[in-house]
Subunit: 208 residues, 2 copies
């Protein structure tokens, strides 16, 4: 694309670096911002930069947070003895949106995937084991995507936790095997959380 302004060209190129945003869409967004007040565009720009600059990761659960401890861990109404293990922040948001879960989370930061070179040591697994050991966790809910990698991770975590007196459950198979957790609708996700199973039942279902 040919632009007669470097200011426009640079802005289009920056937008086009975002996932799923091509040059044409980037141009549309830039021309839209051009029509807004300068103050509005400064607000957009400053809000995005501040988000990245000031975001923290919760020292308990690794969720994104505005403070050392995230608002979920800091909420006295949440049951800290029920820990829901998820792959990513995105899954925390998906489950929170169901408004059906009263426990806390543990964000692994990924899933075991030898093909992608992601082993257990790259994930927040050590801190999960520590929480179970030291903080009276009674139930660990494995809310991972029902894929081969999800199952591998569940299997690995269950071995790591087996010497502690903690109930391990998995979310119910409301989500199709191979499906991505984050794309499940809220109803399915809420139901599969309510109908969670003890790990033994899950393994007997023969998903592996």
């Amino acid at each position: 694309m040919i632009f007669s302004s470097a200011l426009i060209e640079n802005a289009v190129n920056e937008f086009a670096r975002l996932p799923g945003v091509g040059k044409k869409t980037a141009l549309r967004l830039v021309l839209h911002l051009l029509k807004q007040d300068t103050a509005q565009v400064e607000l957009f720009s400053e809000t995005v930069a501040r988000m990245r600059r000031q975001i923290k990761f919760c020292k308990h659960c690794h969720n994104v947070s505005d403070d050392e401890t995230c608002s979920i861990c800091a909420n006295p109404a949440r049951h800290t003895n029920v820990v829901c293990v998820v792959e990513s922040i995105r899954d925390v948001i998906a489950i929170e949106n169901t408004q059906q879960f009263n426990g806390v989370y543990h964000v692994l930061g990924g899933i075991i995937s030898p093909i992608d070179g992601i082993g257990p040591e790259q994930l927040n697994i050590h801190s999960l084991v520590e929480r179970v050991q030291q903080q009276g966790v009674e139930e660990v809910i494995m809310a991972l995507s029902p894929t081969i990698e999800g199952d591998t991770t569940i299997y690995y975590l269950s071995k790591k936790l087996k010497e502690w007196p903690v109930k391990i459950t998995t979310i119910a198979r409301g989500i199709a095997f191979g499906g991505e957790l984050e794309y499940a609708d809220e109803m399915t996700l809420a139901r599969s959380l309510t109908n969670r199973l003890p790990l033994e039942n899950y393994l007997q279902q023969g998903s592996r």
Copy 2:
């Protein structure tokens, strides 16, 4: 959507104000930026803000510009005696991308549309008449969308310019009547510019 971080929530809301960006897409973009280096996000943010803050409009043609005079008007290789009249900046970019046009532009900043309350006085028409009167313009190419509003605007402009010895042409009807100029592919747009017609022929075609 429920977020456990105000920083994330605010950023998602800002992205979701952009046209065609829903909450889900906004969240995807924010989570992507969260994974980038702070420096990269600051660059994105600063580039967008600087674009809006520093952009100027060319004093000759009303195109977006980094300086008082845009890079097209400032280019000595462009023929200033051929002026292509377009509705918007978007159309300048579309025509520039054909690499078939050696003249200069005049951006109206809209199109006459009584339904939308846009009359001639809201558009950059006075400065076009002045250019024709004072700067030896030999040809004015009407490159407006082939819609009722486009035709109305062409008709209005041709009346305004008729006492001056300037040739008025319209781009060829390679573009379907009712189509938006900016969505035409480069080939069609280039060809319809090359095959432009004197206004009389256009009116005889009976588009009105």
